[in-house]
Symmetry: C2
């Protein structure tokens, strides 16, 4: 196995304008504070709920040794984990806010962050344990139900927040909380006598331990991650054993498709896994960590499992928007090619997980199939999760709607996606490029300045692009002094032709695995101009995808398009799209924050003359539909939406 | 309101050959006996079940005054009503067998019929009451739960059997049982003090009372029918009141779509009904009786309700096969245009009910829209209920299958359809024609001889036809002496052109409401030759029918066609049918008992080169599919089936 690529660090990449800076500013200025308000409000509701239970004399477990912190918590309006994933929401929000503060000074936001960290400090137990839900609601359950209670999942998100908070601010306050907790976990979990040989029902801690390891270089964290990954799914199943220990003999997920433990990625050891199954977010978080560990350990067997899962996902279970996990029932995967549009679950977090998994694989193998999917998921299924005003969220991202599906101010039943969106968007600079030896690889095209060290040479690179709407991109390379190295640039799958000019003169790259390699002596100020063509692409799905039969989807550049009632009136399925390629693209500054719309020729199938059935084909009226980027739908009046449009001619 | 038409009686119409005689002989020789065996077997199972309950000491109510008949029943292997609809199955079978014996002497069948009638005689209570399930299993429930227990429904089928048995054999044995029971019902039910103002949850008795009235001329039966129909759906609801009386406060059909009483046609008075709702069989049986009563009473208000229900059904809730009731959940109707193909419930019995409803309306108004639907339902959704070997049954008749839907030897969970099919097919002669004043109207084209009295003139008519496969039909008219009258012949909706020749010379009819009227002085031996053209018709559904969008169905004459894997291989949805009219029709003697098959030009959508999505349209290979009559599907090896085929060109 070749050595892994090193991402150009988030802090070394600065957005300088364009599409993603606008989103970053929206999230940083609006979404983060909206989320903080919502979390605080939800915390108050939790506290109220607890009060009521206490007043009604209902049984609420209270930890003997935690009364001080609980009393304190009661006095706050934050630290009440009514839901089992409360700390993960806190963690993701802290991670997002920290990433924001790395680039932007914001006293109010800093105050919020420190206020939350203080409360975490106060709540952390002397032994290092920290979980607001368990401590508040059921302290005797500590590590008694790893299957369901999300304890290690919550820990993971606190650890990730701690890493970013430390990287961004240089402060150790949150990192110390995390390492104390992680040290405690390393004592509790493991293969030794007296340790628990368990792992979390909801993977996440694995990713987090690797991040913590990279920052602290503490081998115990790597070792614990390795243990969790290798132990997972062994027989007898740990979740069965812990259920027996807590005298819980309720049937577990009866009638759930497949093995009930497939849901939590534990129906077999990871090394034996050949398909992607179960809960989509869990699958992606786990396999992102598995891929990263495989790279660290040069573990070919683990990496092969990742590739099998990746291939299965891409060949049979991927929406064209980068959405995954088609079923609400298990928030996850079903059978091959089962990709319904209207009922697509395609959770925002699941695509974020896919982004993370693809990124880990990309760092092991510079292949554009990974970075293409990162870009696709980001610009479509992920970005659709957030409204244009930054204050409303899709949890699930269907590819068709009759007009009843809308973003909500707060997905109170499980507020996982809002903070996940925020932390991802605010972390995007860290995914732009990576370095190995003498190669700097550029994966995503943003307006940004980045600074990298290429084999000892400090190099800055300025990227200017018209993407995602037009294809011209200029990369200005500035090595501190002239230097021989390779610039490798992703050739997006959506671009059929590319033109490259170096300082105005045509140049042909060496293309390998979807990357254009330019190896040369780079001079300060060298300017590589790339023209990616952006044809409107008319996409069809494989026959087995029943919902898409007789339909096409349009995309252009990284953006998948959809038709919405706002532009096209009701009854969208009356349109039969002329797929012969007669499309008009125009940038509309005043539409949806400024987007390219695509206008396509259609026939509109009018009503039959009369009756339910007729031997006369329905009249067809020629016309035009307007398609908008999928991410931007449901930002106007409620109405229908379709990504897959019926196609004229079959 | 004009006077009603009189059907030419079943006994006066004799099939002489052709398609329907073959089916009649199959049912008479094979199906009836198969059903008798299955019922006897089921009776034995019921008895076994009762024995087990008695042995286990489970509570089984036994009637104090019925010990003699029960003891007797125990000694038989028939009279054990394990299900609440047992007597209706007995009744329908007796009706079918009696109709058979009207035309064909069959000592074995006669023996079976008499054997069953004897057992009914022994079981009938001194007061006339007769219901095997209630008497055996819960005698204290007599008329305590009209909502659920099907008592009057069962009575109705016994009455219908009694009428046909009397008409067919001239014997009063079963008719006496029926009138004793009906006399008892007329005492129990009604508006007077001490009577029950109730009606059955499952309509049927209404139809039966009218038949009993027509045979006996006993006004009490007409009066009781009128009471049931007018009382139905009044507020407060009788079903609520009887539930209170029996201290039953369980929620009734919670979560059922619409009013829970819509299911049993009792959510409002019939006169206020404007849509067809609820359980499809119940709706059709009820409205058939309502239409008939409206005719007898010249009750325009009731008739208007029938027309509203009819229109709603035809405009929004009718499958192209004549199937109705799309949902399994309520065995009935849902929302407008909700006509899924694969999950279509479209119960065989529901289409039989539609046949009966249409026939009642036809007798009040000679309009081919009624007789067209009779023919459509008969040749498609109804006939598909029976296998070509006469021994397997569809309960539900979907319009598409992935290969898992098959006829069963016995729908043991509710064996209603097999006997219903048998009684309808063996009664078909009674639906061929009707008479009013000086008009003889021919509705269905069978090879048959019929004898009618037209305003005092005895007339025989010989019908010879190539239908349902070819359109030539010859009607030879033989008045006893030359006479002036009108022969009115239905012009089928599927025929775009008709040629009429009288004794070889062209003749033009007077067309009114879809019937070709020939008024003249008829001479013995006059021969009317009709050529109905039978183009293959390419049918489309209204836009609102989502399942049929981008699809067409083929039909020819009265037969709707389908494609099956047997002829066309797997993955039927790969075919895109060229709807421009290039069809080849050929009669294949050895296929499915001899049918016309339709061969149509198609493109076969081949696999994408690779992957889940592609910008290349899938290759299309020109080819041909073979379509067979819908009724004949699933008579070969298991496989897929589709009525609605994707259409090339959108």
């Amino acid at each position: 196995m070749e050595p892994a690529w090193q991402p150009v660090a988030r802090k070394n990449v600065t957005l300088t304008g364009g599409f993603w800076q606008r989103w970053t500013e929206l999230v940083g200025n609006t979404t983060l504070k909206h989320e903080f308000d919502q979390l605080r409000h939800q915390g108050q509701l939790d506290a109220l709920l607890l009060d009521q239970r206490l007043h009604r004399g209902l049984k609420v477990e209270r930890p003997d040794n935690a009364s001080a912190s609980l009393a304190l918590a009661t006095a706050t309006d934050w630290y009440w984990g009514g839901s089992i994933f409360w700390d993960s929401d806190t963690g993701k929000w802290l991670e997002a806010a920290s990433a924001r503060l790395e680039k932007t000074s914001d006293a109010e936001l800093t105050g919020f962050v420190e206020w939350v960290i203080e409360r975490l400090q106060q709540a952390q137990q002397p032994d290092g344990y920290l979980n607001s839900h368990i401590l508040t609601w059921r302290p005797r359950h500590r590590f008694k139900n790893l299957r369901d209670l999300h304890e290690l999942y919550c820990a993971g998100h606190l650890f990730e927040a701690a890493v970013v908070h430390f990287e961004a601010t240089g402060q150790r306050s949150l990192l110390d909380i995390a390492t104390r907790y992680a040290d405690y976990l390393a004592k509790v979990f493991g293969p030794k006598e007296g340790q628990l040989p368990g792992y979390c029902g909801h993977p996440e801690i694995e990713l987090a331990l690797l991040r913590l390891y990279r920052v602290t270089q503490q081998p115990a964290y790597l070792e614990l991650c390795r243990f969790f990954i290798n132990e997972r799914g062994k027989s007898p199943n740990y979740f069965d054993e812990e259920a027996i220990r807590r005298l819980d003999n309720r049937p577990f997920r009866p009638g759930h498709p497949g093995s009930p433990y497939a849901y939590m990625q534990a129906d077999r050891p990871i090394r034996e896994q050949s398909r992607v199954v179960g809960h989509a977010v869990r699958a992606m978080y786990l396999f992102a960590a598995v891929a990263e560990l495989a790279g660290i350990d040069h573990d070919e067997e683990l990496l092969a499992a990742c590739h099998r899962v990746w291939d299965d996902l891409n060949q049979t279970k991927l929406y064209i928007t980068g959405g995954i996990g088609s079923a609400a029932e298990n928030e996850g995967f079903t059978s091959d090619y089962d990709l319904p549009n209207e009922t697509a679950y395609a959770e925002t977090c699941a695509s974020i997980g896919l982004f993370l998994f693809a990124h880990r694989l990309l760092l092991l193998d510079l292949d554009s199939r990974y970075s293409d999917l990162i870009e696709l998921a980001l610009h479509n299924n992920i970005l659709s999760g957030l409204s244009l005003d930054g204050k409303r969220f899709f949890y699930d991202n269907p590819l068709a709607s009759r007009g009843q599906h809308h973003r909500v101010e707060w997905p109170w039943w499980c507020p996982c996606c809002p903070q996940n969106l925020a932390r991802l968007i605010l972390s995007l600079p860290g995914y732009v490029a990576s370095v190995r030896d003498t190669v700097l690889a550029v994966h995503l095209f943003f307006d940004c300045d980045l600074a990298a060290d290429i084999h000892g040479t400090p190099v800055t690179l300025r990227s200017q692009t018209q993407l995602p709407f037009e294809g011209q991109t200029v990369l200005t390379v500035n090595p501190k002094q002239p230097a021989h190295f390779t610039l490798a640039v992703r050739i997006p799958a959506w671009s059929e032709n590319q033109q490259y000019r170096l300082n105005g003169a045509g140049i042909e790259p060496d293309v390998r695995k979807g990357y254009a390699h330019f190896e040369r002596d780079w001079q300060p100020g060298d300017e590589l101009t790339i023209n990616f063509d952006l044809p409107v692409r008319t996409i069809r799905a494989r026959y087995e995808v029943e919902s898409d039969r007789g339909r096409v989807a349009l995309s252009r550049g990284p953006l998948v398009y959809c038709v919405e009632s706002s532009d096209n009136g009701p009854e969208l399925d009356r349109y039969l799209l002329d797929a012969s390629g007669n499309y008009q693209v125009s940038f509309e500054r005043d539409v949806l924050g400024g987007v390219n719309v695509i206008r396509a020729t259609v026939f509109r199938e009018e009503q039959l003359a009369e009756g339910l059935y007729s031997t006369e084909p329905p009249p067809r009226k020629p016309g035009q539909v307007t398609a908008i980027p999928y991410y931007a739908w449901d930002n106007r009046e409620p109405g229908q939406m379709q990504v897959w449009v019926r196609v004229a001619g079959g």
